[in-house]
Symmetry: C2
Subunit: 338 residues, 2 copies
C-alpha cells in the first residue's frame, strides 16, 4: 500500500465500534488526525510502516475508552485527543513488537508488518511510536498521566515476557493465564480508562473505578480474542484461526480442555502444544476435543464474569450516553466472539 | 552467567573510564545500585537478561556524563543517580533492540543477548527497560527532563531506521552518515549531558552548551567506534572486527575510501557492500584499500574535529575537576581508537 493510500485509509474511522460511538465521531476524527500528524517523520519508512498498521482498521478501542472516560466526567476533550493518540501509539508499538515475537502470519486480515518490512523495521518503528507516545504525554504535561502510562508500559512488557514462559507449557494454570492477559492486555485498557477521569480532575475513587472497569474489560476482551482463535466459523469471515494452537500458546480454551482431559487427550496436548510436534488434521482434532469438553463455552462464561465485573465497576456519572457507551463496550467484547 | 553472578559483576564499576572518574566513584556506585534495583521484576527472565547486558561491563559513559554535568553546576546528586540509571536503561534498550536488528554475533566481547535468549526476549526486555527509564523520570518529576529524553528516544529510533536505508548503499554520502550517527548515537549523549544543568537549574545557554558538547562528543565517539571495526590490532585485544564490513554498513572509513576509489576498487565495494557478495579474504582486501587511501586516518581527523568542537562547547564553570573530566572524556573517545 502506498504511503498516501494508507494515510487516507487511516482518516476514515472504519471501526466495528462505529455504531457505539456515533456521539464520539468528531472526537475520533481529531484523534485520527493527531495520529496521522504524529506518525510523520523525515524518514519515509516510518509513516509508511506505521500507516500500514494504523490504517489497517484497528478498532481504536483504547482511544474510544479514553475519549468516553473524559466525556463522562466532562474533561477537556482537546487534551483527550492527543492522549488518545498516545494510547493508540503504545498499543501499535506493542503490536509491532509482538509481530516480531509471534512469527504470526496475519494480523487484522493483512500480512503482518514484519513479513513485509522485516523484523528490523518493526522493532525500530515500534520504538519510534513508543517514544512519540511519551512526547505526546509530555506535551500534555500531566505527570500523573505519564505515571499511569509508563507503569502500564512496564507491565505490558512484563506480561509479554511472562507469556514466553507459559507458551508450550501444558502445566500453565488458569491463574497464570489470567496473570499474563491482565499484564499484556488489560493493563493498557485500565490505563486508557483512567486517563479520562484524570483529565477531568475526578476524585481518586472515581479514577480507581474506571481503572477497575478497564481492567475487567481488558481481561474479557483478551479471553474473547483467545476464543476467536478456535472458532471455525471465523474462517468464513476471512480471519485466521488456529494461530495460537500452532504456536503452542496456552489460552483459556486449551486450559479448560486440559482440566478435563483423559489420558489420550493429555498425550495429544503434550505432543501438539508442549512438543510442538503437529501434523495435518491436528487443529481439527483440537476443535473436537474443545467441543467435547465445552471448553469454548467455559471460556465464554469466564469472559462473561469479567464483563459483569466491568459493568459493576462503572462509576455513577451524569452523562448517561457515555455511561451507555461504556456499558455497551463491555458486552461488545463478547459479541465479537459470538 | 547466573542471575546472581551477573548482578555481582554489575555492582563493580569495571569501566575503562575509572581513572577519569575517581571523584565520581561513590556516585557511580549509587547509579549501579539504582540500575540493579530497577531492573528487578517478578518475571525472572527480565533481571537475568538485563543483568547479562548491563553487567557485561558497559562503559557507563552516558551516566558518567549525567553525573559530571550535575556536579559541574552543583545540582542535586540524588536526582542525578536515578536519572543516570534512566539514561543507561534507554541505552541498554537500544542495544537489545539493535542486537535483533544487526544480527551481530558479539557485543562487548560476549555473545549478543539475542543469540542466547532469543529475539523475542531481547525485544521485550528492551521494552521493559525503556518503560522503566520513563518510570524513573516520572518519579523524578521534571517534565523538562522527560521532554529531553523522550525527544532523544524518538530521534534514536529515527536514526536506526535511517541506517537501514544507508546500509548496503555505496552512494551514502558523508553527510548522510553523519546524520545517522547524530541521531542514533549523539542524540543520547547530548541528552545525557543536558540533564545535569537542568537538575541544577542552570540557565538555557548553559543547557544548550552542554547539549552541544554531548552532541559533538557523541559524533566523535561513534566515528571512533566505526574506526575500531577496521583496526586489525583490535583483534589481539579480543574484540571482533569486520562486523560492519560483513553487514555492509556504510561508515566513515569506507566512505573516505570510496571517495578516492579507482574503477576496480569501486567494483570491489559494489560487490562486497552493495551486493553483500563476500568471500574469504575480502575483509583483508578492504583493510589494504583503506590503508592505501589513508581512510582510517581521514576518519580519525574527522573525529578529532568533533572532539575539538566538544571541548570548545564546554561552558565555563567553577568546578575545575569536573571540567577536566568532561574535557578528558572528549579525548578519551579517540584514545579508545588509537
Amino acid at each position: 500500500m502506498s504511503d498516501i493510500a494508507s494515510q487516507e485509509k487511516a482518516t476514515s474511522l472504519a471501526s466495528p465500534l462505529d455504531s457505539l460511538s456515533d456521539s464520539l465521531t468528531d472526537d475520533m476524527r481529531e484523534v485520527n488526525a493527531a495520529i496521522l500528524k504524529e506518525m510523520q517523520s523525515d524518514v519515509p519508512m516510518i509513516p509508511q510502516l506505521a500507516g500500514y498498521l494504523i490504517a489497517a482498521g484497528g478498532k481504536r478501542i483504547r482511544p474510544l475508552m479514553t475519549l468516553a472516560g473524559t466525556l463522562l466526567f466532562e474533561g477537556d476533550m482537546k487534551r483527550a485527543h492527543g492522549l488518545s493518540a498516545a494510547v493508540e501509539f503504545i498499543h501499535t508499538a506493542t503490536l509491532l513488537h509482538d509481530d516480531v515475537v509471534d512469527e504470526s502470519d496475519e494480523r487484522r486480515g493483512q500480512k503482518a508488518a514484519n513479513l513485509i518490512f522485516g523484523n528490523k523495521s518493526s522493532v525500530l518503528v515500534g520504538d519510534y511510536l513508543f517514544s512519540k507516545a511519551f512526547q505526546l504525554m509530555v506535551a500534555d504535561g500531566s505527570l500523573e498521566i505519564l505515571r499511569i502510562l509508563s507503569d502500564a508500559s512496564a507491565i505490558i512488557a512484563e506480561g509479554e515476557v511472562m507469556q514466553l514462559g507459559t507458551a508450550n507449557n501444558i502445566e500453565t494454570s488458569l491463574d497464570e493465564y489470567l496473570a499474563v492477559i491482565k499484564a499484556k492486555t488489560a493493563a493498557l485498557f485500565a490505563a486508557s480508562c483512567e486517563v479520562g477521569p484524570v483529565i477531568a480532575g475526578a476524585d481518586a475513587q472515581t479514577q480507581k473505578s474506571m481503572h477497575d472497569y478497564g481492567m475487567a474489560l481488558g481481561i474479557a476482551f483478551q479471553i474473547a480474542d483467545d476464543i476467536l482463535d478456535y472458532k471455525a466459523d471465523q474462517e468464513a469471515l476471512g480471519k485466521t484461526i488456529g494461530d495460537d494452537f500452532r504456536e503452542g500458546k496456552m489460552t483459556a480454551p486449551v486450559i479448560f480442555a486440559l482440566e478435563n482431559a483423559d489420558e489420550l487427550e493429555t498425550l495429544f496436548w503434550q505432543r501438539t502444544i508442549q512438543d510442538k510436534n503437529q501434523k495435518e488434521g491436528d487443529f481439527e482434532s483440537a476443535l473436537e476435543i474443545l467441543e467435547k469438553h465445552d471448553a469454548v463455552a467455559q471460556s465464554f462464561a469466564l469472559a462473561q464474569t469479567y464483563v459483569s465485573m466491568a459493568e459493576n465497576a462503572l462509576p455513577a456519572a451524569k452523562n448517561s450516553v457515555m455511561q451507555e457507551i461504556l456499558r455497551s463496550l463491555a458486552s461488545f467484547t463478547l459479541k465479537r466472539a459470538f
